[in-house]
Amino acid sequence: MINLGLIDVVLLAFLVAITWAIIQLRDLFAAVMLTGIFSLISACLFMVMDAVDVAFTEAAVGAGISTVLMLRTLALTSGRSNPRFNRLELAPLLVVIAIGAALVYGTFDMPRYGDPQAPIHTYMAPRFIEQSGDEVGIPNIVTSVLGSYRSYDTFGETTVVFTAVIGVFLLLSDPRRGRRAGDALRDDIILRIGTKALVPFIMVFALYVQFHGDYGPGGGFQAGVIFAAAIVLYTLVFGLARAEKIFRRRRLELLVAGGVLLYGTVGVVSMALGGNFLDYSVLAHDPVHGQHLGILLIELGVGITVAAVMVSLFFLFVRRRQV
């Protein structure tokens, strides 16, 4: 695959160029824009490496939500980086070079990319590839691994998201916040009608991603982010005041917790039915159906939590008073 090799090189060269530009630019807004491009290119790289699920996540989070949050942060600070940090400092440079050299040295020990003899390909992967079809019965092995074999990990990750957002709630929920109603971009008829037309389709697409994780790339996490993106678009165009009337804070908080709770409940129920924690095989009469049901439910939990977290975060950032 000479073509794909070429693409790798070109995309990596782009990444280097962008990084260099980001370092050089003093204009932080321009830097944020370039970060957006950076994430677009990284996702292309993931694609080339056939890691579609990862690329999906990068697309949803890196290109969309994180740009929005960074811009919002920028609104709270000044738009230019401090020239004081422009000088060349010797000590940090040395530290960075040393660590970089160590990391590069470390890669010498790693197996070549795509080497079939690499430990990661001989340890668990063959078992997943050969048996997940019988044991879990889902075409997308990534979903089998994340949702079933490693559902402990995924549960942990969901809990991390949950905990993180609680931290943000505590930090950013300022009860003395000044509420200013903004009519936003609604006065723009073109944008308004475009948004009206797009939002329902984006939401249905998110749910498609949610329920088709068994067959193709996708699943709860990506679906949650896409669903949240639809609400973000609505908020941007129709204003925060109107959006908050529909997506009330209290309900969002309940959903944030509810998703994790759903995930945990599936685990507890499978214990109650005589299996191990999160062992879905006991959920139905035959193990494969049980696995299906279990993965469906936990993905739903992940989706609910992620969507609610993203929307809450966005609202919190937007509501934040300008300092």
Binding site: L4, I7, A30, L34, I37, V68, L191, F205, G218, V318
Partner: protein, 104 residues
């Protein structure tokens, strides 16, 4: 033939990158990023066919989607200084309703 399309898209991406770095106005940068996003969508679609996995199209759609939403978000940021659009709508930033350079 896919390869030719791919190379063309990559080259045009490089040119957009130059525009994004050069600016000079914020709008030029936003425009470049937006156009870059569209090119990414095309690249992913072509890549999907090259790798024989048209399922990539789901991803292409997500890209198109996120590209649009982040462009609108960025616009709100530059127009009102904030995503909620609190600054008075007819405030300091709006220009007189009569365009200055009109046709004669």
């Amino acid at each position: 033939m896919f390869a030719a399309a791919m190379v063309a898209i990559l080259v045009s991406m490089a040119m957009l990158l130059v525009r994004a770095v050069k600016g000079p106005t914020v709008f030029d940068r936003i425009l470049s990023v937006n156009s870059f996003g569209t090119k990414t969508v095309l690249l992913i679609a072509v890549l999907g066919f090259l790798a024989g996995r048209p399922a990539f199209l789901d991803l292409a759609l997500v890209y198109a989607l996120m590209n649009f939403i982040s462009t609108i978000a960025v616009l709100k940021f530059t127009r009102f200084g904030s995503l909620a659009g609190e600054r008075s709508l007819a405030g300091e930033h709006s220009r007189p309703t009569e365009p200055q350079a009109a046709e004669t």
